[in-house]
């Protein structure tokens, strides 16, 4: 990793994926952009898009919103690495000081059949929502909750639940997985509720429902490479996958039908 300390502009050659829709043929387009070391990677794409607009061309489509690493919108594979070369960093928090003058950078969308390309770098990640809809919640109606202090929660479990809950749903785990598996994502949510007393009543049902939905969406299987953990901008641990495996087996043994 190169840390450029002196102020200065960098010439970057970008190769960005252009694709008009799911199933449409795609290709890289090459553009030269002047960057500044303080820019974020998305700001570099902003500059590129502004150049394109001004010369009458169509800007590249990419998802982005909060630009502070928490909304999970931005999703792009930079030189084969989801969110780029820096550990625990989303593309919006990746800064150009990681690069050298003259670098050539390839930007591609997440590639997984469960995440079809909508346009350019934008993919359809609604499969994640459907997994959550299958069971990623505690079924409690508003207004019927007991006092917040009614059930003490072991601090270690609460902290582990938080670690799992920190998932931003960006999809980098799927993008990084050689099998395009969504197990890190699914297991993170499942772990959060498995570790908390509030999640216990629906524990078995939740594990079965979320895993079944995950399978139905066409994600691959986990073969324990742990690329997902390495790519996760929030450092979600693969321990969660082990927990999900266990939970799923347990739920299978306990189910009544």
């Amino acid at each position: 990793m190169i840390q450029k300390k002196n102020h200065g502009d960098l010439r970057i050659v970008l190769e960005v994926w252009r694709q008009n829709g799911p199933g449409a043929p795609g290709a890289f387009e090459e553009h030269e952009v002047m960057a500044n070391e303080h820019m974020s990677f998305l700001e570099l794409l902003d500059v590129l898009n502004e150049q394109l607009v001004e010369s009458g061309k169509e800007p590249f489509v990419f998802e982005h919103d909060c630009r502070e690493g928490i909304c999970g919108s931005c999703a792009m594979t930079i030189d084969g690495k989801p969110h780029g070369p820096r550990d625990r960093t989303t593309a919006c928090q990746l800064h150009m000081r990681e690069y050298r003058n003259g670098d050539r950078v390839r930007v591609e969308p997440w590639r997984a059949n469960a995440f079809p390309v909508v346009k350019d770098l934008m993919t359809d990640r609604s499969a994640f929502d459907r997994i959550q809809q299958a069971g990623g919640y505690v079924s409690i109606n508003t207004g019927s909750a007991p006092d917040a202090h009614a059930i003490p929660v072991n601090k270690e479990n609460a902290d582990m639940a938080f670690d799992a809950a920190a998932c931003i749903g960006c999809g980098a785990c799927v993008a990084a997985c050689p099998n395009a598996s969504a197990m890190l994502f699914t297991s993170a949510k499942l772990s959060q509720y498995t570790l908390l007393p509030q999640g216990q009543p629906e524990r078995d049902q939740r594990a079965l429902a979320m895993v079944d939905q995950m399978d139905a969406e066409g994600f691959g299987n986990c073969t324990n490479h742990y690329e997902c953990e390495a790519a996760c901008p929030k450092g979600i641990s693969v321990t969660n996958i082990a927990r999900m495996n266990r939970e799923y087996a347990r739920a299978t043994l306990r189910r009544r039908n």
Binding site: K81, R111, N113, V211, A242, N245
Partner: protein
């Protein structure tokens, strides 16, 4: 029954099958290796051990069980790999990854089939062929086979494949079974590597010993 079939149809259930059969096969390999080591004590010791095994009336049952384990392991490997290959049909143009995957983890689908081919050769070599013979000296067969350059290459190569396969498989099986408390992650990984080294040294020592002392 219904829920069991559902389990076997799920991604996690199939991985469980891989893990359970894989760990059972590991156990078998350890026993197999221990038996092989008798060759260091000379041909007679080796043949005695073989006779002991073959005279056990439960052997056909054990063999059938073993065959079952292999068949299931291979079948589910095919199912899982098939699914994984279709989960990303548009491949990355630049795919360096994040550096977590290893040579062992990414070559499971190569080492697996290679080992299957080896297994067929091996079973033909030492199991089926001797059924066709009236009389045989098993230890001598081993010695002849492994002193021949081709035999030496096949067997030592296959053991390297076992090592590569196991390097990833052991901890992977524990992760799949859900035994992965952060505190034990390193322990499991190291145990797996130790067993792998033991297997490679135990099995692999023999062809080298025979080849270079013959």
């Amino acid at each position: 029954m219904n829920s069991f079939i559902r389990f076997l149809n799920s991604s996690i259930g199939r991985k469980y099958v891989m893990a359970v059969t894989g760990l059972s096969l590991t156990l078998f390999l350890l026993v197999h290796m221990a038996g092989n080591l008798t060759i260091y004590a000379g041909n007679e010791a080796f043949n005695e051990y073989a006779d002991l095994l073959e005279s056990n009336p439960l052997l056909p049952l054990a063999e059938a069980g073993l065959l079952g384990l292999f068949v299931v392991h291979v079948l589910f490997a095919v199912l899982l790999t098939g699914k994984n290959k279709t989960s990303r049909t548009d491949r990355y143009q630049a795919n360096l990854g994040m550096g977590a995957k290893t040579v062992a983890s990414t070559t499971m689908w190569i080492t697996g089939p290679v080992l299957l081919v080896f297994l067929i050769i091996h079973i033909w070599d030492f199991r089926i062929s001797k059924e066709l013979m009236k009389e045989y000296d098993l230890a001598q067969m081993v010695v002849d086979r492994l002193r021949h350059p081709v035999g030496f290459m096949i067997y030592s190569g296959a053991i390297a494949m076992v090592g590569l396969h196991m390097w990833h498989a052991f901890q992977s099986a524990f992760q799949t079974l859900g035994v992965a408390h952060p505190r034990y992650r390193a322990l499991i990984q190291n145990t797996g590597r130790l067993i792998t080294v033991l297997l490679v040294a135990g099995f692999g020592g023999i062809p080298f010993y025979l080849f270079f002392t013959g």
